[in-house]
């Protein structure tokens, strides 16, 4: 089989960028949890060069800097969900990481890979978009920043150039008190690829009024995106007074408006409605819990 495949491993970011600059037909591999499945499906017949970046230590850090949390693309899902800084600042990301694959998959799979693979069902992408994450893209001669929502341009498609690597994922810290939630429906409890998932990030004031909200379902549209109509419908409202039934319906209608009727619509429409209700209910519970603690 695979007569034309070559392999190059590097532990240096500069070397990786230089290699991408001077070679074509390079496929980057990190944790391999998506790349290896694709290779298997193609009977390992990929021709070109596999560039292994999994050992570049400088891309494995999580740190707080000024108003941002910066995450290296080679941070694994296990590292994400065990990180206390993340759990404190962005528990919605921790919750999403916990639902990915299995222990073995979480030990190898990376946040950069989850983003770059750009599966419509990726579990980290909805929370990252809801948190207004940006990706840093570097080549040997350039560096640019892009909102994650713009970076992902379609199912399994991103705006990355052949000579670029994702070298950082940065999330702005939220100054106001905010609430968040992640929900997922899979075919089974573990190892499940999301049939549909959702992330909510909401800034809610002391009168329980939603000041700003991001509602991002995954697997509902070709690439995860905020549901603007749904967001508009709840912004400025008191969260405890929301008509969840109506909002669930609205979410389903917004999905169909974005994607058209598909073979999966009869399942996904009510499923998304249920998830919207479930995640808003979880947020409401938390808000009410906080209210009681203050009294």
């Amino acid at each position: 089989m695979m007569a034309n495949l070559d392999f190059k491993a590097t532990r240096s970011l500069q070397e990786a960028l230089d290699f991408l600059d001077t070679n074509s037909e390079v496929k980057v591999i990190a944790g391999g949890t998506d790349v290896m499945v694709n290779l298997y499906k193609e009977n390992y017949s990929y021709s070109g060069i596999l560039l292994d970046i999994s050992r570049i230590e400088e891309l494995k850090e999580i740190r707080q800097e000024e108003g941002w949390i910066k995450i290296g693309p080679l941070v694994t899902h296990t590292m994400l969900l065990k990180n206390e800084l993340l759990e404190d600042k962005f528990p919605v990301l921790t919750a999403a990481a916990r639902t990915i694959g299995s222990t073995q998959v979480r030990n190898r799979g990376t946040i950069g890979g989850n983003i770059n693979n750009a599966s419509p069902a990726a579990d980290l992408i909805p929370p990252l978009i809801a948190l207004k994450a940006e990706v840093k893209l570097q080549s040997s001669s350039s560096e640019r920043l892009m909102p994650l929502v713009d970076f992902i341009i379609g199912p399994y498609r991103t705006a990355i150039r052949e000579s670029e690597l994702i070298t950082e994922i940065k999330i702005p810290l939220i100054k106001e008190k905010y609430y968040s939630n992640f929900q997922k429906i899979g075919r089974r409890k573990t190892l499940a690829i999301a049939r549909i998932n959702i992330a909510i990030v909401a800034i809610i004031d002391e009168h329980k009024v939603i000041r700003d909200i991001k509602i991002v379902p995954g697997s509902a549209t070709p690439s995860p995106r905020a549901f603007n109509k749904l967001e508009e419908a709840v912004t400025g409202q008191e969260i405890t007074g929301l008509n969840l039934e109506e909002l669930g319906k609205l979410a389903g209608e917004e999905m169909v408006a974005l994607t058209g009727e598909r073979w999966s619509t009869p399942y996904k429409k009510p499923a998304l409605s249920a998830l919207v209700k479930r995640s808003l209910t979880a947020v409401i519970k938390e808000v009410e819990g906080d209210g009681e603690n203050q009294n």
């Binding site: 070559d6 391999g32 298997y40 299995s102 998959v105 030990n107 190898r108 409890k189």
Partner: protein
């Protein structure tokens, strides 16, 4: 298609190997080192039959290229036994009749071993999470979980 020279410590023995660019850790262990306790099931990271411990973490060896792990330490089921003595986990699997056809057993053992190495007293939920990537299609999971619990010394505080 150049071969890649790598060093690997497998079951406490040092190896220097020349491997293919597309050679999976699974292939190296089974075909080159004849460690056939490492099983190939689904080949896509779903079943966990190929689980080994790589630098202390349970991984699916079907999803790792050997070229990626130069200088690493690998433990397979063959390495659990030390000086002709079974690992307590292996004995517990026998005692609790946690083996039927046996195909999932090596992977199950390695997932359990990785857990106990990090967390010697896991609760039942932590055990379930550790083996969630290991599919068993015959005994069911109860005996397996009980076997691991017995080694974890937590039998008495079962939830």
């Amino acid at each position: 298609m150049e071969k890649i020279k790598i060093n690997l410590n497998v079951n406490r023995l040092e190896y220097t190997l020349e491997v293919e660019p597309d050679e999976r850790l699974l292939d190296t262990l089974r075909e080159r080192l004849k460690l056939t306790g490492v099983k190939e099931g689904c080949s896509i990271g779903e079943c966990g039959a190929c689980t080994v411990i790589l630098n202390g973490e349970a991984v699916n060896s079907c999803m790792v290229l050997t070229g990626q792990v130069d200088g690493s330490q690998v433990l397979t089921v063959e390495g659990l036994e030390v000086d002709s003595k079974l690992d307590p986990l292996q004995q517990a699997f026998i005692d609790h009749q946690a083996v039927q056809c046996g195909f999932c057993t090596p992977g199950m053992l390695m997932s359990a071993k990785a857990l106990l190495d990090k967390n010697p007293h896991p609760n039942r939920e932590e055990i379930k999470t550790a083996i969630e990537g290991n599919l068993c299609r015959c005994t069911g999971y109860e005996q397996i979980i009980e076997a691991i619990e017995s080694v974890a010394g937590r039998k008495d505080c079962k939830e």
